[in-house]
Symmetry: C2
Subunit: 356 residues, 2 copies
DNA sequence: CCGACTTGGGAAAGCGCTTTCCACACGTAA
DNA sequence: TTACGTGTGGAAAGCGCTTTCCCAAGTCGG
């Protein structure tokens, strides 16, 4: 079923059929346009995408590369991006690298081969030079051919992008904890090479330093992203630093893990130890106690990144900074010793569990 | 940068260049193949996907349509499918309809236009005849052109697919609750027209009927999928049937909502009321108490659906049935009045909250 | 009433590949 | 030596569209 079939069936030329079906080309007399439309419908014709792409030298495909579709952080961003793509009449090719860097490079190449209009690269930059360079190379090759890219949290990539104020978020968390009276605070961090992590931690460290509070090396432990990684890291942390009164987990999934580890260790949150997460994923309000966290407008972030890819008018290297906001829930409280009711007592806040 | 450029640069003909780059076509002398490879690398050439697709009359794209990427149920399935697609060297075009049926039809058409190898349709069939018919039509048109489709939980679509034993799951949940001694049980259901829902409910009803336990109409309330819908529905349910000792929510997200509603109403889970979910999403073990639920191997399901689309050898109408398993956690217990400690007492199980 | 425009249809030239089909050079068996 | 596979390179014909380019037919001011 090709366009010529439609043209023949409608009794017009191939050219006219094409024009009738594609608004925005040249005008076609109403009568003919209708005839072509009818013929197309009768034959249940749909254009051949690849042929169209070849002739037009542009596709209606836009690519998106995330670390893990299954991680709610990324699926929220993807949802935002897909909404915008839809608004522009584009289809999105979503690739999940499952944190395999070679796969990421490969996917960029394949999207280049597909002649995708643009690519949204989601995920922190890394401090690993070798990978960063290679990625820069393939992205440059893609852009040299007219492809547009936008990245999220990859300032060193040189393309347009949106950047989250992770440092500011970390700082806000630090201030919150200090304000509550904590000064023996630990951090459960993700993989060290991820710049996003570094920034959250840096902002946090800054806030503490401003207040003259130390953040010793052994109060910062590193684990895999995700719940299990967080639990494992938190377990190590509270073993080596049992005196901590607060823990900042660098994302909500890890914070959820912290809750598990603390509970296993018989520590009550927030009475004995306060816990703060980051991102405000749905899980943050599913736990008991619900997590105090730093909210990022993830869908909005995804939407913006996609818009950056799609609007041609914009300056090609625009960087869009976005801030989040602290959301205080029940996982934070003053430390035990300033509660005025005696240091290690098992006072429990009167929280209505599950109510959220 | 086209293949002719590469050919010229390597000093061979276009045909040879094509053959050298595409293993599986005709053999090319090693020397020439190497020359072509070098030339391609030097020019950082990647093939033009659309042109290739046009000439070969087949793409390396496979489509996937889900209701909502952001729903962990669907993202788990998507993850499984994408893994398999990757293994086959295909890229997946993921479309999220956000539960808009017109969008679903539109996406099938667009995937057809893109000449996608196959389409995985994820999401319950509906009892709405009009939509089912229209979907059947577009799918048939797609398949008539050689496209392959596989669906998840859409038995009425006539294409290959995997089907979850929702009825069996519902039955197991019913038996569990009965076994604990419950006989005043309510159900928080999703939208009535979704067949998946109906099956879960039907299996559940069957189990109760077998035991001679009634499931009166006013013990079944309907709400939107998701946490909020579940909370709202559960609130209605406990208001109109305050005597219930157990609630079966037809998925985990709604079960999470139930927990919220019960907590607001001052009812303790599982002491006053038991709650059971379905799916075993991550959230099921993030709540306190953790949810008893029926586990579905979602990634595996997604993987199977994708395999169904991709293997050409298989019988075209194969239906793959998959079972799940009950996972008993802390949200279920015997009903108050059989606890032997006096009916409405506020006995609380000694649960270590958050420990999960 | 006539040249200068405008409007809209159709023929045909690609877009960048794959894949026949043909040609040629060997090696081998008769 | 002849005849015939066999292995390998190249020319060229499409794949199904879009988009020039050309041309016929109307429109209009002078």
């Amino acid at each position: 079923m090709t366009l010529s079939d439609v043209a023949r069936h409608a009794g017009v030329s191939l050219a006219t059929a094409s024009r009738a079906l594609n608004p925005g080309s040249r005008t076609v007399a109403d009568g003919l346009r209708a005839k072509v439309a009818t013929a197309a419908a009768e034959l249940s014709y749909v254009s051949n995408g690849p042929a169209q792409a070849l002739a037009r030298a542009r596709t209606s495909i836009v690519g998106m590369i995330v670390h893990d579709v299954q991680d709610p952080y990324f699926s929220a961003i993807a949802a935002g991006s897909m909404r915008v793509a839809r608004e522009h009449g584009l289809m999105v090719m979503l690739a999940s690298t499952f944190r395999d860097q070679d796969l990421e490079l490969d996917y960029v190449e394949r999207l280049r081969a597909q002649r995708a209009r643009g690519i949204v690269l989601v995920g922190s930059s890394t401090t690993q030079r070798r990978f960063t360079e290679r990625l820069g190379l393939v992205v440059a090759a893609y852009e040299a051919e007219g492809g547009r890219t936008a990245s999220l949290n990859r300032e060193n990539l040189g393309s347009a992008g949106v950047v989250v104020d992770n440092k500011g978020g970390g700082r806000d968390v630090g201030r919150l904890l200090l304000g509550l009276g904590h000064h023996r605070i630990g951090v459960v961090a993700g993989p060290r090479h991820l710049v996003t992590n570094k920034h959250r931690l840096a902002g946090f460290g800054l806030a503490l330093a401003d207040a003259g509070v130390e953040l010793p090396d052994d109060a910062v432990v590193e684990g895999d992203f995700g719940r299990e990684g967080g639990a494992e890291a938190a377990a190590r942390l509270i073993e080596q630093r049992p005196d901590l009164t607060a823990i900042f987990a660098l994302n909500d999934l890890m914070a959820r893990g912290c809750l598990m580890a603390l509970s296993s260790a018989g520590r009550v949150v927030p009475d004995d130890v306060s816990v703060v997460g980051f991102d405000d994923l749905p899980v943050a309000s599913d736990t008991a106690p619900r997590l105090t966290t730093f909210r990022l407008p993830l869908e909005e972030i995804g939407a913006r990144a996609m818009r950056l890819v799609l609007r041609d008018e914009a300056e090609p290297r625009h960087i869009d900074r976005v801030r989040g906001e602290l959301v205080v829930r029940e996982s934070t409280a003053p430390p035990p010793h300033v509660s005025g009711r005696g240091g290690r007592s098992r006072r429990r806040t009167d929280r209505r569990e599950g109510t959220p």
